[in-house]
Amino acid sequence: MGLPAMYLIFFGFGFQSLSSGGGNYLAFLAPGIMSFQAVMAGTVGGSILWADRRWGMLAQLLVGPFTRTEYLFGIMLTSLLLGLGGAALMLVIAVVLLGTTTVTLGGGLVAFGAIALGSIFFGSAMLLLAALVKSNNAYNSIQILLIFFVNFASTVFYPASPSLPLVLRALFVLNPLTYIADTARAGYAGTLGGTNALEMGILAVESAVVLVLAVRAYLRSDVSLE
C-alpha cells in the first residue's frame, strides 16, 4: 500500500501545479489510486500462490485437511480484502489531504463494488500467471510489466482525453482498470451513469472468464516447482 499512497501524495500535489483549469488533480487522482489497489491486491494473491508453489507450502497444505478449491478461494478472499482495505486506506488519506470529501454512501458503495470486482479480476489474472509461470525471474518480470502497463494505460492518472493518441485511447478502452477507475471516480464524485453500468457489466463478464481460466490452470498445475 506504500506505493499507491506515495502516488497519491506526490503525484497528487506534484501534478496539481500543471492543472491550469482550476480543477483539483488530487480529487481526480484519489479514486484512481483507490482503484489501483485492485491491481496491487491481485499481485499479492498471485505472489502467495507462486511462493507457496516455489517454497513447497502448497504441496504441504494440500496434504492437510483442505481442498485445492478452498486454498484458491482463500487467496481470492485475501485479494478481495486487501483490495477493499487498501482502497479504504487511500480514501482516508485522500480525505485528510483534501480536507473534505464529496463521496456519498451510495456512490461509495458503488466505488467499492467496482474495486471488489476489480480485485477478483486482477486476483484471477495473477493466479493464472502464477499457475503458468515456473521461473522466478519470468514471474517477477511479467508481474512488474503488467503492473506498469495496466496502471499507466488506464484512467487512473489522467482522463481518456480526445487529445491522447488513438492507440493509447484504444488501450485505455481494453484495460479493465479503466472501467474500475471510471466507476470509482463517478461513485466518488456522485456522477454515476449508464456508461458505468455498462463498464461494470463488461468487467463482471471479464472477471468471470479470467476466474474460470485461473481455476482451470491452477487445478492442472503442479503443486510444487521442484
Binding site: V63, G64, P65, F66, V223, S224
Partner: protein, 324 residues
C-alpha cells in the same frame, strides 16, 4: 511393530500405474498392502517412483489406473477424509514464514487442535527435537537441518493414523536422525502406521518391518528385512575397487569369469560381488587383475547387508551401472 493378523490393511495398492506424460510410467503396476501398526519402507534410487507413490497415497496426484485404498478410502473420491487422518513429511522444504513456535502452533491450528493442547504439544516437541535454542527465530533464519527438524516435529502436532515420511532424515545430524527414528518407533508402538522412504539402508534396517525395493516404477522385491537378507544368506559379499579407466573391461571380464551364480554390480570404479564361495572368487579376481594388468585398489569380503539386497534387486533389472 508388525500388523495384527486378520485386521484390514491400512493401505492397499493393486496394479497402480501413473504416468506424467506419454511413454514412461512413474509407477508401473505397483501392488502391495500395509497393515496397521506396520512400518513399511520404500527403497529405491532417485526417480525410482518412491515419491510418486507417496504423492498418490497422500492424494496429491491421482493414479492413471489401478486401485488404491488408504484407510479403506479411495483417494480419488475421499481425499479430504484421508488427509484428515494422515501426516506427511515431504522430501522438499516447506516452511511458512513464521517462527518455529508459530509453525508448530499453525500446524496444530490447521488440524483443529485446541489451544491448550497445542501449547502442551509444542513444548513437548520443542524439547524432543531440540528446537529450544531457535524457537523464536523465523524460518528464513534457520539452517537446512534446523528447518528439517521443524518440518518433522510439526507433523506430530496432530493425531493421525498413518504417517508418510519421504526421506525425512535428509539434512539431519546423527543424533537428530536417531531422535526422529525413535520418535516414530514410539508412535508405532501406540498403533501408528508408517510409510517410510529413504536412501539410508541402515535407517530402513533399524525402523522398517517390511521393505519394498522399487525401481523404474516397479516393485522388485518385497518382504520383511530378515527375509530379504535371508534371500542371500548362503552368499558373501566381496567389495572391490579398481582404477576407473580399467573398470568397464575388468568388471565385464569378471562377470564372465565368475559365471551366472555370482552377481556383479558396478558403479564407476567400484563393484559389489555376491558369491557362494568367496575364497574361490578372490582367487579369480586376483588372477584376472594380473592377467589384464589392472591394479586392485581395494578388495574385501564381508557379511551381506540390506544394501546388498538393494543392489542385487536393482542389478536384476539390467541397471546400466551394474553388469550382472
Amino acid at each position: 511393530m508388525t500388523a495384527l493378523a486378520g485386521e484390514a490393511p491400512v493401505i492397499t495398492a493393486d496394479a497402480v500405474r501413473h504416468t506424467y506424460g506419454k511413454g514412461r510410467y512413474a509407477l508401473d503396476g505397483v501392488s502391495f498392502s500395509v497393515g496397521r501398526g506396520e512400518v513399511f519402507g520404500l527403497l529405491g534410487r532417485n526417480g525410482a517412483g518412491k515419491s510418486t507413490l507417496i504423492k498418490a497415497m497422500t492424494t496429491l496426484i491421482q493414479p492413471t489406473s489401478g486401485q488404491l485404498r488408504v484407510l479403506g478410502l479411495d483417494p480419488r473420491r475421499d481425499g479430504r477424509r484421508i488427509r484428515e487422518r494422515i501426516g506427511v513429511v515431504q522430501q522438499g522444504e516447506s516452511m511458512d514464514f513464521t517462527t518455529v513456535e508459530g509453525n508448530l502452533d499453525l500446524y496444530g491450528y490447521l488440524w483443529k487442535v485446541p489451544a491448550a493442547e497445542r501449547r502442551r504439544r509444542s513444548e513437548l516437541l520443542i524439547e524432543r527435537f531440540g528446537l529450544g535454542e531457535f524457537r523464536t527465530r523465523r524460518s528464513w533464519d534457520l539452517s537446512g537441518g534446523q528447518k528439517r527438524r521443524v518440518q518433522v516435529a510439526r507433523e506430530f502436532m496432530h493425531d493421525m493414523d498413518v504417517l508418510f515420511l519421504d526421506e525425512p532424515t535428509i539434512g539431519l545430524d546423527v543424533l537428530m536422525r536417531r531422535v526422529l527414528l525413535d520418535s516414530v518407533r514410539a508412535e508405532v508402538r501406540k498403533g501408528l502406521t508408517v510409510v517410510f522412504t529413504t536412501h539410508n539402508l541402515e535407517e530402513a534396517d533399524y525402523l522398517c518391518d517390511r521393505i519394498a525395493v522399487i525401481d523404474e516404477g516397479r516393485i522388485l522385491a518385497l518382504d520383511t528385512v530378515a527375509n530379504l537378507k535371508r534371500l542371500y544368506s548362503g552368499k558373501r559379499t566381496v567389495d572391490l575397487t579398481v582404477a576407473e579407466a580399467d573398470a568397464g573391461r575388468f568388471f565385464d571380464a569378471l562377470s564372465s569369469a565368475l559365471g551366472p551364480a555370482a552377481s556383479v554390480t558396478a558403479t564407476a570404479g567400484s563393484a559389489v560381488v555376491l558369491v557362494d564361495d568367496p575364497k574361490s572368487a578372490l582367487g579369480t579376481i586376483v588372477e584376472l587383475a594380473q592377467r589384464l594388468g589392472v591394479q586392485l585398489e581395494w578388495l574385501t569380503v564381508r557379511q551381506n547387508t540390506l544394501e546388498d539386497v538393494f543392489l542385487k534387486s536393482i542389478a536384476h533389472r539390467g541397471d546400466p551401472s551394474g553388469s550382472a
